[in-house]
């Protein structure tokens, strides 16, 4: 099997996952609703203080994405376990990394879609202005880097916990500790950019996020076949 056929397999898996989700809308509605709900709860907890809301906005947004995203990762492998589809998937000839890459692509598309809905809600609830000038591009870069790191880890650990009977509990236990660097990098750089980046620290955090994404993507692609094997 060539690289080209592995890339085609990757696209096929992403297409399959997104088509199934578009049909059923089983997770999109639940994940979006949970994300908005978490933001509202944070908003109520922080009270009406405008400065406190703005300072907590990035943290609340990333935690909302983190908690709601867990549902999507669990579901991503649940559809494979229903009716024994995972076994069929693993019996197709070709590399296993293409299965991980396909799932990763589908989960990325899904989480970006959820963010498209949740972020405007967060901006309204936490009274955050749309970034001026080119600051929006930096915020977008942070969002992409943070989301990619989160989804790489979520897709990988969901595969690891998928065959466990207590996978719903196991996934957060495995994922949350590993998410600390991503969460820290994303929240600190977002908050710094919202304040106009006076200490010029956002770049360093973004560099750390990039390094983290590259390291974990490489590690996940290499080790996935051992994680998913019976």
């Amino acid at each position: 099997m060539s690289w080209a056929s592995d890339v085609r397999r990757m696209r096929a898996i992403a297409w399959k996952d997104l088509t199934a989700e578009r049909r059923s809308r089983a997770v999109l509605n639940a994940v979006t609703f949970l994300g908005v709900l978490i933001l509202m709860l944070f908003g109520f907890a922080l009270g009406p203080d405008r400065d406190a809301l703005r300072d907590a906005a990035a943290g609340a947004l990333w935690l909302a994405i983190l908690f709601s995203g867990i549902l999507a990762f669990n579901r991503s492998y649940q559809v494979e376990l229903d009716g024994g589809a995972l076994e069929s998937l693993l019996l197709y000839p070709g590399s296993r990394w293409s299965i991980f890459a396909g799932k990763l692509l589908a989960n990325l598309a899904f989480v970006f879609l959820v963010e498209l809905i949740v972020i405007p809600v967060a901006m309204v609830l936490f009274q955050v202005q749309f970034p001026e000038g080119w600051a929006w591009a930096s915020q977008l870069a942070v969002l992409v880097l943070g989301t990619v790191g989160f989804v790489i880890l979520g897709t990988f650990y969901a595969a690891m916990s998928s065959r466990s009977r207590s996978r719903e509990v196991l996934l957060p236990l495995l994922l949350f500790p590993m998410m600390i660097p991503v969460l820290l990098g994303a929240v600190e750089s977002s908050t710094s950019l919202l304040r106009g980046d006076p200490m010029r620290e956002a770049g360093a955090w973004m560099g750390m996020l990039t390094a983290f994404d590259i390291i974990f993507l490489t590690a996940a692609l290499v080790t996935f076949e051992y994680v998913i094997e019976v």
Binding site: W15, T19, S24, V79, G83, Y92, V230
Partner: protein, 222 residues
């Protein structure tokens, strides 16, 4: 070959050869290890010890080559409920990297052309089984591993399974079929093998167990 799940031995020393052009039935009580044996042969499970050799090559050395030659019909359909029958086959053809698969011809062969654009969620278990057979047809394997393929099928379904098995056999392939009642197979078996109590023996040797489990198609224990 052996396989252990935790403390329980599913296979304790099974040895079996299926030649080209041969159709072999695999019988045994529930829990005797039939499905485990089939899944190991299909590379879905790794044996605890021993190996599977396909066309002279141990599958551990080149599992991709084995997967390209082996088609497994599991007792679970392995389909996606929210995709249509056609989409399930399109997905399978993309995963098999087929250039121009004739999906309609496959759907017609398994009797699902009229339901091609309906979601699998709405299918009966027999229809899902037919679609799984369709996926096997797309793959055109040289070696068929069928786990209770006649379950959920009416007479036409049984005939369809047998036609597919005979087509593979006539093309120089072979088939290993798990079944509870060899008579359902309608006489297509060349011989049958029975997995029996040997699984619970303390430490049987491979050769000894094989001698106990092998039975010819006429029913005489070897």
């Amino acid at each position: 070959m052996t396989r252990r799940f935790g403390r329980r031995w599913a296979l304790r020393g099974v040895s079996l050869t299926v030649a080209s052009g041969e159709i072999v039935g695999l019988e045994g009580h529930n829990g005797s290890g039939k499905s485990t044996l089939l899944r190991i042969a299909a590379t879905a499970l790794r044996p605890t010890s021993g190996s599977v050799v396909i066309a002279g090559t141990p599958v551990q050395e080149d599992p991709d080559r084995a997967r390209a030659q082996v088609g497994l019909l599991s007792f679970q359909p392995g389909l996606y409920d929210d995709l249509t029958a056609r989409e399930n086959l399109v997905f399978a053809s993309r995963m098999l990297d087929l250039a121009s698969p004739d999906i309609n011809a496959v759907l017609e062969r398994v009797g699902l052309l009229a339901e091609a654009d309906e979601r699998v969620r709405t299918f009966s278990s027999g229809m899902q089984r037919r679609l799984s057979l369709g996926r096997l047809l797309l793959q055109s394997p040289r070696i068929l591993l069928l786990d209770e393929p006649y379950n959920s099928f009416d007479r036409q379904g049984v005939q369809l399974v047998n036609e597919i098995v005979l087509t593979v056999r006539d093309a120089g392939g072979c088939a290993l079929i798990v079944l509870h009642d060899r008579h359902v197979a309608g006489g297509i078996l060349d011989r049958a093998v029975r997995l029996r109590q040997g699984l619970t023996d303390p430490a049987p040797s491979g050769e000894g167990l094989e001698a106990r489990i092998v039975e010819d198609v006429a029913g005489a224990t070897v």
